[in-house]
């Protein structure tokens, strides 16, 4: 029996740019228990429904998170549209799908870079972010913003993607795919990378299921859960299968995300080939009366948007459950028994976004 000690981890940490605090109970170099504490950056975002009307809340909702901003705006709009029984035009559905997948691409490439940085592979980190830059340029070209899209509105979308832009997206995606193939080989087959990822932080299918994890984190442990299969927006018209791995370790999480990059590229290509002509939005009149909740697949996993209105211009309640919120219990379980040096990498493998968890 080794000597027990408690090491505080975060909220500021050189490897992890997320404000989570963990008290790690160590026995020699092995973590035996983890006590998490969050709440350092609560912004009271949901209570802003008292001050902003339901049209303005789109812009508040999409500022829940910097990386999944589009998904948050889209999820909120979808929930309000469901309550108000608004059917948005087909073209708007396809445009939302394209932007959502561009958002997933930039999130996954960002995560790959952070992971490479986590295990000290600086050049791989820069290479990943260099590829991501192309996606950010596409987002800026089509929406006007690099991180915050601001193209969603209740009833559709605000901007169209012109045929020239769609063509440009396809050309850029070919290059992105070729570039990802290069880094994929390093992430999956390099000896030193494998030594940091393989067999580290293993969670079984049963454990992940019991702890309610979502997204690529759950899919890496063999759970076939992908909210896009529900067929919201244009996903119902597109052909794709959730990417699942059964190993449940950090390597599997990396593998799932890399394959999801190719999947997203494929979904965008399909959406561009099928996108119909038509209106971008429908006019919405009246106020929100009733309640509804929708589930969408954010890059980090399933996100839930609950909206309740009582016929006023201001919503009664808005509740957003982000993927990291669902993944935290599994993270705590995963850290038990791991080596102290692996803690930053293991936290990174859930792709944490504490800022959106605390809203």
């Amino acid at each position: 029996m080794g000597k027990k000690s408690i090491v505080p981890f975060g909220p500021q940490h050189p490897v992890l740019p997320e404000p989570i605090h963990l008290d790690l109970v160590l026995e020699d170099e092995i973590v035996t228990n983890v006590i998490p504490s969050i709440g350092f950056i609560h912004r009271g975002l949901e209570s802003l429904t008292e001050k902003k009307d339901y049209f303005e809340m789109v812009y508040v909702a999409e500022r829940t998170c910097g990386i999944c901003s589009f998904g948050h705006g889209m999820g909120y709009c979808e929930a309000v549209e469901e309550v108000m029984d608004v059917e948005i035009p087909d073209r708007a559905k396809y445009l939302r799908t394209i932007w959502m997948e561009l958002s997933r691409l930039h999130s996954h490439l960002l995560w790959l870079g952070l992971l490479a940085d986590g295990f000290g592979f600086e050049s791989l980190f820069y290479q990943s972010w260099r590829i991501r830059e192309r996606i950010l340029d596409l987002i800026e070209l089509t929406t006007g913003g690099r991180v915050i899209f601001s193209v969603n509105k209740v009833g559709g979308v605000l901007k169209d993607i012109t045929p020239d832009m769609l063509k440009h997206i396809l050309t850029e995606l070919d290059q992105v795919e070729a570039d990802v193939r290069v880094i994929e080989h390093t992430f999956l087959f390099d000896y030193s990378v494998q030594s940091r990822l393989k067999g580290v932080g293993v969670l079984s299918r049963k454990q992940v299921h019991m702890l309610g994890a979502v997204g690529p984190f759950a899919r890496a442990s063999g759970i076939n859960i992908d909210m896009r299969s529900l067929g919201y927006e244009a996903y119902g018209d597109l052909d794709f299968e959730p990417i699942v791995s059964s190993d449940g370790d950090s390597y599997a999480r990396c593998e799932v995300r890399i394959h999801e990059i190719y999947q997203s590229i494929d979904i965008i290509r399909q959406a561009i080939s099928k996108i119909p002509e038509g209106e971008l939005s429908v006019s919405v009149k009246g106020n929100v009366k009733g309640e509804h909740f929708v589930r969408i697949e954010q890059p980090r996993g399933e996100a839930i948007y609950y909206v309740k209105g009582t016929g006023k211009l201001y919503l009664d309640r808005l509740r957003i459950r982000t993927p990291t919120f669902a993944n935290l219990p599994a993270l705590v379980e995963m850290l038990k028994g791991c080596n102290y040096a692996d803690v930053p990498i293991l936290i990174l493998t859930i792709d944490p976004c504490i800022s959106c968890t605390e809203r």
């Binding site: 902003k52 049209f55 303005e56 812009y59 508040v60 500022r63 592979f121 050049s123 791989l124 290479q127 260099r130 830059e133 800026e140 070209l141 089509t142 929406t143 006007g144 913003g145 915050i148 601001s150 509105k153 605000l158 901007k159 290069v182 880094i183 080989h185 390093t186 087959f189 390099d190 000896y191 030193s192």
Partner: protein, 171 residues
């Protein structure tokens, strides 16, 4: 050559990134030396809000629809004020403007030591034209009010006269 190094590395499971590293060493830099070389923004870039102030009718719809509440409109003074440091460039005011005199254009707000407001004031000619228009509307309204009052007084007088006649008949 770099491809050869990469292939050798990959076959051994080590140094798999060597090919890319060598390629990067002989390629042009991906980054640009900003700010010496100015950034190129796409046409849709949401940089900052601009206003055609002389087109503005000071209706105030933009101020009511601004999520960070960074806009102020003064109808009497003919001013439109924006705090660019609070503005989140969402473009909601542009959507709501009934005269389409607000635009979102490329170019970000430069940093500064304090949150300063930018005030736009209508030109004296537009102010004079608006004042004349307001005076005309007020004149019309006053005339209409006077006509209404006269009609009411006439109606009252007729009613009083009728009542007096009825009273006389009863007596």
């Amino acid at each position: 050559m770099y491809q050869l190094y990469g292939k050798i590395g990959e076959s051994m499971g080590i140094l798999t990134f060597t090919g890319q590293v060598l390629k990067n060493l002989v390629s042009k830099p991906v980054t640009t030396s900003y700010p010496e070389k100015p950034a190129v923004y796409p046409e849709r870039s949401r940089g900052h809000i601009e206003i055609d102030i002389d087109e503005c009718i000071s209706c105030g719809l933009c101020t009511r629809g601004c999520p960070p509440r960074c806009l102020k409109v003064n109808k009497v003074e003919g001013t439109w004020t924006i705090n660019r440091f609070d503005c989140i460039a969402c473009g909601y005011c542009v959507q709501r403007c009934p005269k389409k005199c607000l635009h979102i254009v490329p170019g970000y707000q430069k940093p500064g030591p304090a949150k300063q407001e930018t005030v736009y004031k209508k030109s004296p000619e537009v102010m004079a034209a608006e004042a004349a228009k307001r005076a005309e509307i007020a004149k019309k309204a006053a005339a209409a009010k006077k006509a209404r009052e006269e009609a009411l007084a006439k109606k009252k007088a007729e009613a009083a006269k009728k009542a007096a006649e009825e009273k006389q008949e009863i007596q």
